[in-house]
């Protein structure tokens, strides 16, 4: 088992605390089958850009960055994140940099963390720019996705005290997925063909049973023969159905 990055500096009143879904992503990305898949895929490419959308505390991206040599079989990967919640952006940045430091003190080559972006999904990414995408979406079915409070944006971080209401608003953004828990994930999927690298792009997307992962799978398959989609891991089996799964969407080049 590779060590899990420390998030003890993160304020979990404002930022999603690592949970079963985060840990399933860690286990998936460090499974020997995915290591094999990723290191073969990026054997000869220029340095891959690994991007986590909705990075929250940053625990998943930090894990991948700290263990990049092991996972990708190369030490020149770049890491980038986006989150709607500006507190999460700062937390991600801290968590990833700390994890890179501690891996480096154990003799690992340092990964390159570019930046945290305060952004909605992939909206500010250039076409064809992302090689590996990681997304732990707000997947819980709710009557609606909370509207982003305009009053919270684009105010700088430290100036005004943050009310309890604002804090719970940020947390609700991190889990509330609207109808079938799929409203946010569907928006991401819509933008995926534009952003994911045409030759070797691959996306890891976490889903829960209520999201109907197999329907999502056929939806992506219908994009055409150059798209491959597979459920690569799962956790919490309940009456024959997995509670959580990770879907791997890849372009066949």
């Amino acid at each position: 088992m590779l060590p899990t990055p420390s998030t003890s500096h993160v304020n979990f009143n404002r930022v999603y605390e690592p949970a079963e879904d985060s840990f399933l992503l860690l286990d998936t990305l460090s499974a020997s089958s995915e290591i094999k898949f990723l290191s073969e895929r990026f054997k000869t490419s220029p340095p891959p850009l690994i991007m986590e959308v909705g990075s929250g505390s940053g625990v998943v991206l930090a894990f991948v960055a700290a263990h990049a040599n092991h996972i990708f079989g190369r030490s020149d990967s770049m890491f980038l994140s986006s989150d709607l919640n500006v507190f999460a952006c700062h937390s991600t940045s801290n968590t990833v940099l700390k994890a890179i430091d501690s891996a480096s003190s154990l003799g690992e080559k340092r990964s390159l963390f570019l930046n945290s972006l305060n952004a909605d999904l992939l909206s500010c990414l250039k076409a064809n720019s992302v090689d590996v995408l990681i997304f732990n979406p707000p997947y819980v079915p709710t009557s609606e996705v909370p509207e982003r409070k305009a009053s919270l944006f684009p105010d700088p971080v430290n100036e005004a005290p943050v009310s309890f209401d604002d804090e719970s608003h940020f947390l609700s953004l991190s889990y509330a997925g609207g109808v079938d828990g799929m409203e946010v994930t569907n928006r991401l999927l819509e933008d995926l063909p534009r952003v994911l690298h045409r030759a070797h792009g691959v996306a890891y997307i976490l889903l829960c049973a209520q999201n109907r992962p197999r329907e999502v799978q056929s939806h992506v398959k219908a994009w055409g023969p150059s798209w491959e989609v597979e459920i690569v891991s799962s956790s919490g089996k309940k009456a024959g159905w997995e509670k959580l799964v990770v879907l791997r969407v890849s372009r066949a080049g």
Binding site: S82, H90, S116, L125
Partner: protein, 137 residues
């Protein structure tokens, strides 16, 4: 925000996606800071095919940074030639300059402007805010 990050971002508005002038975003009123990073010339060499050189030149000019060579350096420009024998090739000044520009030069505070729609994105404490008010999404 590192200048290398600008190699990967464009205007967040849907209406700008099809326009070539939504990339690169143009820094304005930028407060720069140098953040020391471990020098990795091999990384730079591997990155060369991914760099949007023309965009980088524009950004350098706008930030009043030293002018870049007119085209992307070749891999051979990053390491001293000669050095027969077993000693590893030494990185050149070009490699050191590129490292400083792409990885150590960061925008601490300022704006990024889309030349297609004119929208200004603020950078605060190194983090760019690409969130749009609902009527611009």
């Amino acid at each position: 925000m590192k200048l290398l990050t600008l190699n990967f971002v464009s205007c967040a508005r849907k209406a700008c996606k099809s326009s070539t002038s939504s990339f690169p975003l143009h820094p304005r009123d930028a407060e720069l800071e140098l953040v020391e990073m471990e020098f990795n010339p091999q990384f730079l060499q591997n990155m060369l095919p991914k760099l949007e050189w023309e965009a980088l030149q524009i950004i350098c000019n706008e930030l009043a940074l030293p002018t870049l060579p007119s085209s992307t350096p070749a891999a051979s420009d990053l390491f001293e030639s000669g050095g027969e024998g077993s000693s590893p090739a030494q990185p050149t000044q070009v490699a050191r300059d590129l490292h400083k520009l792409l990885l150590e030069t960061t925008i601490r505070e300022g704006l990024l402007v889309c030349s297609n729609c004119g929208h200004e994105y603020a950078i605060k404490e190194g983090i760019a805010n690409f969130l749009l008010p609902p009527h611009l999404v």
